[in-house]
């Protein structure tokens, strides 16, 4: 495992800033973890140890919180994040077929990152675009009314 310093000085000082901001507020763990994930793109082990030490909580508690919530990832993520919606409206309008097609096209399982590090494919329940079902979000852009054969075209934009 890399040493804390190899995470980048600037990133670590950003993390320290976040810790300083939330340290004295009630319930600091989740906001600090959210900031850390924003800074590093995921939660590196060294950053987790650092947070636990600075906030004076056992690492086990910090990991307990981080593993509970779907938002947190312990693996580096791809350049683009695809959220494939499997909400009810998407499900009845063929959302599973869209996910299957993306899995086949990108050769990854849901939750994983492609070998070239371009995409992380996530399965989510409801992105609130039900009227555009079946829908996906890539980074911050939503694509609606998809069909399996349109998947390639959409992915091709990235």
């Amino acid at each position: 495992m890399k040493a804390a310093s190899s995470l980048g000085k600037r990133q670590m000082s950003q993390l320290d800033e976040a810790i300083a901001t939330y340290r004295d507020q009630p319930g600091p763990l989740i906001p600090v973890l959210q900031k850390a994930q924003e800074i590093f793109g995921y939660l590196p082990l060294e950053a987790m140890k650092h947070i636990a030490k600075e906030l004076r909580v056992p690492a086990s508690r910090l990991f307990g919180v981080a593993t509970f919530y779907a938002q947190f990832s312990f693996k580096p993520r791809g350049k683009h994040t695809i959220l494939s919606c499997q909400g009810t409206a998407c499900h009845v309008r063929g959302g599973a077929k869209i996910l299957e097609e993306m899995k086949r096209e990108l050769k990854v399982e849901a939750g994983d990152t492609t070998q070239d590090g371009r995409f992380t494919l996530e399965k989510v329940y409801c992105i609130g675009c039900c009227s555009l079902a079946p829908a996906i979000i890539i980074d911050e852009t939503a694509y609606g009314k998809l069909t399996p054969e349109r998947v390639k075209e959409v992915l091709g934009k990235y």
Binding site: I30, H91, C126, G128, C130, S131
Partner: protein
Amino acid sequence: MTVADLEKIRKRTRTFDEVKAGQVHVVVGMNTCGIASGARETLQSFRDGMKRRGISGKVFQTGCIGMCFEEPLVDIIQPGRPRVTYRHVDADKVERILEEHVEAGGLVGEWALAQFPNGASPLEGVPLYRELPYNSKQQKIVLRKCGFIDPESIDQYIATDGYFALAKALSQMTPEQVIEEVLGSGLRGRGGAGFPTGLKWRATRQAPGSPKYIVCNADEGDPGAFMDRSVLEGDPHSVLEGMLIAGYAIGAQEAYIYVRAEYPVAVRRLQHAIAQAKDYGLIGERILGTDFSFDIKIKMGAGAFVCGEETALLASIEGKRGMPRPRPPFPAQSGLWGKPTNINNVETYSNVPAIVFNGASWYSSFGTENSKGTKVFCITGKVKNSGLIEVPMGIKLREVIFDIGGGILQDKAFKAVQTGGPSGGVLPESLLELPVDYQELAKAGSIMGSGGVVVMDETTCMADVARYFLTFTQSESCGKCTPCREGLQRMYQILDRICKGQGHEGDVEELEELARSIKDASLCGLGQTAPNPVLTVLRYFREEVEAHISQRRCPAGVCPALVRYEIDPQKCKACGICRKKCPAEAIEGAPKVIHRIIQEKCVKCGTCYEVCPTKFSAVYKV
């Protein structure tokens, strides 16, 4: 800021409809659905086009007006002319609207959806907004400003009587009177459980301990539901005002809004609204010159469905794993950091200003005996008009689906409607006359829930739907109670094998047995209600599930293991469409050579079935 200052802002602020002579107001729907349909580009094109053409006026953004299926929606307002709503306004339609409608004073009839006469004589051939089938049965209280104000302008909120309910409460009512008013309105919690809001407020007020907290549950996790997102995006100040009134009534000075991180637009608008309200002194110390002080903070959720449960939500705000705890003590007695806490959801708070402003008897004049007022629903799935609606309680499901929703996509046959998300149930056609009311829905085995209404047609497999909800609930179970953690997985496994054609006799009975135990022995609402979708499927669609087991057949032709696609050589015209569209390259054939599906390669995605031209209809399911 005093009440007199509020009055000044109300007088001086221009609403969308108040346009200066010679100017135009363009209003673009900029909620998530609109943005996903290209509204941001449309808005920019209007700005650019007006500048280039030298048209004087303003381009506004607004929240969700409800007709997601017509997005991007644009309203054009000019003095002395009816306000016209245009539908599907992509950026490339902007020039023609500017030229023909705005400059030439005409109308682009084929894109016009509706009009508001605004005192002018109505245009011919364009329906009135109020008379559109989608709108005529709606009654908007919560959504009354969504689509009619700029959600990022506190002045426009004030101009439409915003914060005057707070002013009324603070200057003319005691906290007890506010609680009596809310109690008298009959308002019940809109998050799903339907507990009377006034009773909750009273319990929190009377509970010993201080400080007291106000919490807003904006962790809208039900798949198929986006009511709260739409309110936060379209009218965030109504939620803040409701929370302020609750704070005054209960005697709290601090509040949290727990909002999903998956709603970036809503979070941004909320942050903006809080900053504006602070700037005006409507959040802060000695509000409107009284002794009442109040602060509102945002807490971002981190992606856990169970955090919609109130005790789990409180644990999450405290920075812990979001696991529910037994009640009592209820949050009203011992909530956030062990202090008395009032939790309501977005829609509940958003109702409060209207109730205080117009009075309890006005509010309770809407709805049924036991369910007063209105309810916001998201109507989605296999329905023509998919969007956001607000209807009086007691409206029939049939009216919601067929009159407002416009019926089933492609005029297929209706099969079921799902209300209440993963905690609710599926209801068959025989129950379409059911009035939407807390008691009536519960009697039928479903619940009102937060407001997702997902419509299913004849091509939906109900065994697959039951399995779908379990996929969701078993992965979202927090794991604290064994019956929920293990039982839902067992139920999922049984339904999974049924859908794969490997079910055996006794499976249905075992599902029912497990469902009963999970309902009885789980601590929180998630476990207690998670079996509902399965139980209602077994109650109303038992034969369909049994066909999967006894005949190894999926009557709706959905479950891949039980379906095979074939091409009828008599009907195939070798057009090649299916071969080109097949994602698995599982179709062989050539021009003028009849096509054939290679079953070993087929992934059963159904693309060939969907793309085969209707005039041939050569692909069939067996």
